[in-house]
């Protein structure tokens, strides 16, 4: 059987081609060393042969064997491991959640202080003024100083409450921006890329660059919510099966676990944020292109990611959580704790200041009349006292001696009346007002109470009574600040650990799919030598043929 003359030329040509393509790919890889999300590509080569029963004409050889016909270029593919991708994305969700919580807890530091002007410092100063008032109970100037200090305490409470509200609104705004700008646009882009990739795959093009883009977007999405990437094979024709990508969110708290589709090929759903009347937020599922509501309140399905972090900070009411409420110590927890502080402080101060019927009976004096309630602190809007609305009462504002210094009978049978323009003064109950004497028994009571004798109680979201702390006013604040400090410290530790883990996953992933410049240099040398060899082979073939064409049969000429 004859061998086709120019058969090997095709082999050589194919070899030169493939080596050129190899060099092209090396160049492509080196240029994209720093492109984010780029996966290294390599040339797929197959060796070619025409053996076997399937050919009609055998080439040559006794038993139908023939040497191979060189190399066949089978496309450029990328090297990627989807398992490593899944591990990376899982950790990215955790990291995203911890990062958002760390930022939120740090913002809450504003109610903290190791400086001179915070809430705790003002309360300590107030207690100090009261202690000094005890040694000068008849001194109107000291009474005014005490009232001033109390006013500062209420003002700092108002300010702290306003700051907390500010933080809450900022976090809600951040969440809104994350959802509309980051998550929903990413979902839309992924859906769009899905369609493009599908079309490319159907024509046999591996679409490496588009796949890289899509993977980058999925990585970004995984920082925000917990996702599961599902690749379903779809049979297009006899020998073409392409993969259909969908992304779902799994809610494993329901039984059976419910799944919410975020992306399915070119269709996508979006997330929406809804503010509820009680100040919490919920996440809804919306239809992608029309943004019409699809499923209400899938907040339980968000278990990781930055969105979960935001939800915990915005909804978390800690000890105040009812059944089914978010029990993370987020902003609502601190707002409630501050309100409890203000309300309990006011309640105890008001009660200690009031002269009850029992007090009047024990004093047994015409100069100690019942005056109940005799409020030092009131709310500015008439409702329950909170940190936002606590104020000094009108009576105390206008008369600094409204603070009851003594509930005992005066030692003199004829106490000095308070005169205004020479006329006697009467209080709101119609009783005549007399000057304070040096007896400070009630002031000592105030101080004792503030130092260690208060029960801070409130109601949780299910309207059940809860006791948060028993002890002094300053101790309550210290306990609250230390809770926040410990939460922040723990969260930070977890964040640093997660950072290390995610680095490890990124390194593993890069080990498979990133470009190593040294390796490309070696590849380049390899392909160059390959090219040289192929060209030399071509030269050899050419010479051999030249021998036949130009040199055979010239004997005797």
């Amino acid at each position: 059987m004859l061998r086709p003359t120019f058969l090997s030329f095709e082999t050589a040509k194919r070899a030169i081609n493939v080596s050129q393509l190899g060099l092209d790919t090396v160049g492509h890889n080196i240029s994209n060393v720093n492109t984010p999300g780029y996966t290294r590509q390599r040339v797929d080569q197959l060796s070619l042969s025409l053996n076997g029963v399937s050919t009609k004409y055998k080439v040559h050889g006794a038993n139908g064997q023939s040497p191979g016909l060189g190399v066949l270029y089978n496309g450029t593919s990328q090297i990627r491991d989807s398992y490593l991708d899944t591990r990376y994305r899982n950790e990215a969700s955790t990291y995203g959640e911890l990062a958002v919580k760390a930022a939120g807890l740090q913002e809450l530091e504003s109610i903290d202080e190791i400086s001179a002007d915070g809430l705790n410092a003002k309360m300590l100063d107030f207690i100090n003024e009261l202690t000094k008032y005890a040694s000068g109970a008849s001194d109107v100037e000291i009474a005014a100083a005490v009232r001033n200090m109390a006013k500062q305490v209420t003002q700092v409470m108002n300010k702290a409450s306003a700051e907390l509200e500010n933080i809450l609104n900022n976090q809600k705004e951040d969440l809104r921006i994350s959802i509309t700008d980051d998550i929903n646009t990413t979902l839309e882009s992924i859906a769009y890329l899905n369609e493009r990739i599908r079309q490319e795959h159907m024509t046999g093009n591996p679409a490496n660059e588009l796949m890289d883009d899509r993977n980058l977007l999925i990585d970004k999405l995984s920082e925000f919510v917990n996702i599961k990437v599902v690749n379903t094979p779809e049979k297009i024709s006899g020998d073409l099966t392409i993969s259909r990508l969908s992304i779902v969110m799994v809610d494993s708290t329901t039984s059976p676990a419910s799944e919410f589709t975020l992306v399915d090929n070119k269709e996508y759903n979006a997330l929406g944020m809804r503010e509820n009347a009680d100040g919490t937020v919920s996440i809804d599922l919306l239809e992608g292109y029309t943004m019409s509501p699809l499923k209400k309140d899938i907040t339980g399905a968000v278990t990781k990611g930055a969105v979960k972090g935001y939800i915990d900070i915005i909804n978390g009411s800690g000890d105040f959580a009812g059944r089914g409420d978010n029990s993370f110590r987020g902003v609502p927890y601190y707002m409630n704790m501050l309100d409890t502080y203000a309300a309990t402080f006011a309640k105890y101060m008001n009660e200690c200041n009031s002269i009850t019927a029992a007090d009047a009976a024990a004093a047994n004096s015409p100069f100690v009349k019942e005056y109940d309630p005799k409020n030092l602190f009131v709310s500015s809007d008439g409702g329950n006292i909170t940190a936002k609305n606590i104020r000094l009462s009108q009576e105390w504002e206008s008369e600094s001696t409204f603070l009851t210094t003594s509930k005992m009978a005066p030692s003199t049978a004829d106490p000095e009346p308070v005169l205004k323009d020479g006329k006697p003064v009467y209080d709101d109950q119609g009783n005549q007002v007399f000057k304070d004497n040096a007896n400070a028994d009630n002031i000592n009571k105030f101080v004792n109470m503030l130092k260690g004798d208060m029960t801070f109680a409130s109601v949780n979201r299910d309207n059940e009574r809860i006791v948060l702390y028993t002890g002094g006013a300053s101790e309550y604040m210290t306990s609250l600040m230390s809770t926040r400090g410990l939460d922040y410290s723990l969260n930070n530790t977890l964040l640093l650990a997660s950072d290390k883990v995610i680095s490890g996953h990124a390194d593993s992933r890069d080990a498979i799919s990133a470009v190593s410049v040294d390796e490309e240099a070696i590849n380049m040398m390899t392909y160059q030598n390959y090219y040289n060899a192929a060209v030399r082979y071509m030269t050899t073939l050419d010479e051999a043929l030249n021998q036949i064409i130009s040199g055979m049969g010239l004997v005797g000429r």
Binding site: A134, G136, T412, K435, A438, N448, G485, S489, A506
Partner: protein
């Protein structure tokens, strides 16, 4: 494991950022002198710092109270000294007046002197210190000792002194201030302070003026009357003088009591001030960082950071391409 340029760059940058952050932290510690500025950086240290601050504020309050009590006490002591001198003078004059060598003119002169001294006693008992009456117990806004308009007898806070007995509540009338002993209240009467748990900073004039019919003012009055009427009964006059001297000894007793109180206050102030110093030392050891330790940490970190920067140069640049011919 295959090491790629991206992972090398990423890890190097991460390490560099970590070093830079530490460098920042040590710089801040050095120039503020504080170990930490937020509770989150060191929760347990923060809690202790808060406790120390709380105790410091309290001790400052007690010190203030103790020092105020000391100045009140000093003023009361001065008044008591004057009272003591007056009683001695009255006693001397009475001895002189009772003796036989006096004619009615001389006795009248002596009687006038004793009367004047009696008025002075009343004035001293009604002295004020910084606008507050000193000897009215908890009543410091009106003069404690007054004279009844009709009978001219001595009243204390509106009650006749002659009728006051040893069990009178007026004698127990007192105000207490916290000086760090931990004030507690009597279980039976919730407003009453347990006297052993606080310091009493008010004074009841009855303690030195006396109570019942034999108080100094009444006795002095009787002396004046006796002198004016002619000292007819020598024995009765002698007994009157004895009664007066007995009553006057209460003043001396009061001086001794004030001296003891003064010592107690000095001791309390000393104790509070040394407690204060201890607390400040403790606060500094928790919150502040010593300059030498801070600078040492900073220098170490600078060295580490520089080393990292240099390593970067060796790590990032060379590839195989540099070595190919």
């Amino acid at each position: 494991m295959r090491v790629t340029n991206q992972s090398v760059t990423r890890n190097y940058l991460k390490g560099l950022h970590g070093n830079r952050a530490l460098l920042n932290k040590y710089s801040e510690q050095t120039y503020t002198g504080q170990r930490f500025s937020h509770m989150g950086e060191n929760p347990s240290g923060g809690i202790r710092a808060m406790q120390v601050r709380r105790n410091l504020t309290r001790v400052d309050g007690y010190l203030d109270n103790a020092k105020a009590a000391k100045s009140t006490l000093a003023a009361a002591e001065k008044s008591i000294m004057q009272m003591s001198e007056i009683t001695r003078e009255i006693s001397r004059l009475t001895v002189q007046g009772i003796s036989d060598d006096n004619g009615s003119d001389e006795r009248e002169a002596i009687a006038k002197q004793v009367e004047a001294l009696q008025k002075e006693m009343l004035a001293i008992a009604n002295t004020q210190f910084a606008g507050k009456y000193q000897f009215g117990g908890t009543n410091n806004v009106s003069a404690p000792f007054t004279l009844d308009a009709t009978t001219n007898e001595l009243l204390y806070n509106g009650h006749p002194v002659a009728g006051i007995g040893a069990n009178s509540d007026l004698l127990k009338d007192a105000n207490y201030i916290e000086v760090g002993l931990g004030i507690t209240f009597n279980p039976d009467s919730s407003q009453n302070v347990d006297p052993n748990s606080a310091f009493k900073n008010t004074y009841v004039g009855l303690d030195f003026m006396g109570y019942g019919p034999n108080n100094l003012y009444a006795l002095a009055g009787k002396i004046v009357d006796t002198l004016r009427s002619g000292v007819n009964d020598k024995d009765a006059a002698g007994k009157l003088l004895d009664d007066f001297n007995a009553a006057a000894s209460q003043v001396t007793l009061q001086i001794t009591q004030f001296g003891a109180d003064d010592n107690y206050l000095d001791f309390t102030i000393d104790r509070l001030e040394s407690e204060r110093i201890t607390l400040i030392e403790r606060q500094q050891s928790i919150e502040l960082k010593e300059a030498d330790e801070a600078i040492l940490d900073l220098k170490m970190q600078e060295y580490v950071y520089n080393a990292a920067l240099q390593m970067g140069q060796r790590l990032m640049q060379p590839t195989l391409f540099d070595f190919m011919k």
